[in-house]
Subunit: 104 residues, 2 copies
Amino acid sequence: MIKVSVMYPNTPVPRFNHEYYRDKHMPLVKARIGESCKPYTVDKGLAGGAPGAPATYVGMCHIFCDSVEPFQAGFGPHAQEIMADIPNYTDLTPVIQMSEVVVG
Amino acid sequence: MIKVSVMYPNTPVPRFNHEYYRDKHMPLVKARIGESCKPYTVDKGLAGGAPGAPATYVGMCHIFCDSVEPFQAGFGPHAQEIMADIPNYTDLTPVIQMSEVVVG
């Protein structure tokens, strides 16, 4: 199992519409990637590790897939449509990473 | 529900013992935090978002709790012991953040 993490770096005054991200963007991603991927999680950054420190990421999602190939096969053909939806909720550029799920 | 994310920034040649992290460190954290926190996940970074790009984080864990208070109450008294175990698997300094679980 792998996890695709999409993490939006926080800024002093980030534009990030958490409701749109939860209700529109992520369901769009899920619909386009299809059944080859498992359910996803969505996080809203609250705070950093040190007292008073801001969250490093204002928002994150983690998408679970059996392996990298089904994610790429599902995402690739719809990448342009999915990327074109990002300005509807943020102008931040996400950090993306793929991980092996060691403990799931 | 909140999620505490502990993310170890990757380096060209990171020292990170994934087996120790999975088999020793995270079970220690879980044992010390106790039942006030839900199960955790552990990730091993595979790749970045762009072709050939490295993973931003070599390893991550995400610990689920009902709220910030039970995490702090469970972690606080054992912070010194838990932190002292980190050099056993890495010399990296983790990025820590707390998030609200929007979709879990």
